[in-house]
Symmetry: C2
């Protein structure tokens, strides 16, 4: 299967446990690629120099850049922490800000942290079967708070696009870290 998808019907197989699709290559984010998103980037760099784990991977399908098409695929965030902060995705706004996204959790345990430009934020939990709706205008990041891969099936408008830069520059207002009694949501000390 080559080139643009979606002009004709097609199907892909996403393993319900691992989330992986043998028919496509995933986009992979190793710890060295994203060390700067952690509150302790130095600890991330040091860990990356040791074994540079795969933090997450996901599928980017070449659907038409058209408001009537939908991009979809799976996202796998692997278990782990950097100085007590859970492995997570970079997080992004959509370039067309006024578009939402759905994530359906297939396996694992996690959180979706969301915030908009007006300062509203929210954090919802993922367990197998949970569908989280990310409203229009919200940056969003998936966080693995469990011991197994966090696997979600996602869907968004195919022309929505990704704006990683805005949230990378400012950071999210809140972080999810491992506390003595489990995950804790704390203010991001570096938030600007």
């Amino acid at each position: 299967m080559q080139g643009l998808l979606g002009e004709k019907a097609f199907s892909l197989e996403f393993d319900l446990k691992s989330g992986l699709c043998g028919q496509r290559s995933s986009s992979k984010r190793m710890l060295s690629d994203i060390a700067g998103i952690f509150r302790n980037p130095q600890a991330a760099v040091e860990r990356a120099e040791k074994d540079n784990p795969l933090v997450y991977e996901f599928y980017e399908l070449p659907l038409p850049n058209h408001p009537g098409d939908l991009c979809f695929g799976t996202s796998m965030v692997y278990p782990g922490q950097v100085d007590g902060e859970y492995f997570m995705t970079k997080g992004h706004f959509h370039s067309i800000l006024d578009t939402g996204e759905v994530y359906h959790c297939l396996s694992g345990q996690g959180m979706m942290i969301m915030e908009n430009g007006a300062g509203d934020w929210n954090c919802l939990e993922f367990k197998p079967g949970t569908a989280v709706y990310v409203p229009k205008g919200y940056a969003h990041r998936s966080i693995n708070i469990g011991e197994k891969p966090l696997v979600t099936f996602f869907c968004f408008r195919a022309d929505a696009g990704h704006d990683y830069q805005s949230i990378t520059q400012k950071g999210f207002r809140n972080l999810v870290v491992k506390g003595p009694n489990g995950p804790e949501i704390i203010a991001n000390p570096h938030w600007s």
Copy 2:
């Protein structure tokens, strides 16, 4: 949870095996509601007079009628046949024809039959993990060819709307029936 969803983040739990969501009411289609979609409607009516089985159910969430929002939920088509024709959904076009839809199979075995106004058609198989992309402009119908419920998670643009009438009047060009060696795709004798 009342009223319009989607202005704020929210989550719902869809059981990965049954597809059911304890937090919402489903829309249910009993055999008596849809007897006319089968090639032998008389057999459907007679069966409905006996035990009137639930053929399928699905969730209709009140997301905003906005092109940046997404409707999503699960669809459960139950196993069964009417005179050798498998239980299936009515099938629909979108009212905004130029919008696609994604179905991700969580459990069961089935087929998605699709056709557009220009006469192109396709039939793709569902097994657990299969994601089927229904392109813009295609009527589509889910068919349960197995012995267990066919459970899919679906997503489409929230303003797309449903046009059930066009395809109900003409019927689908092709039907899926139980043959001696399994499911067979045959021409619809009543297609107009």
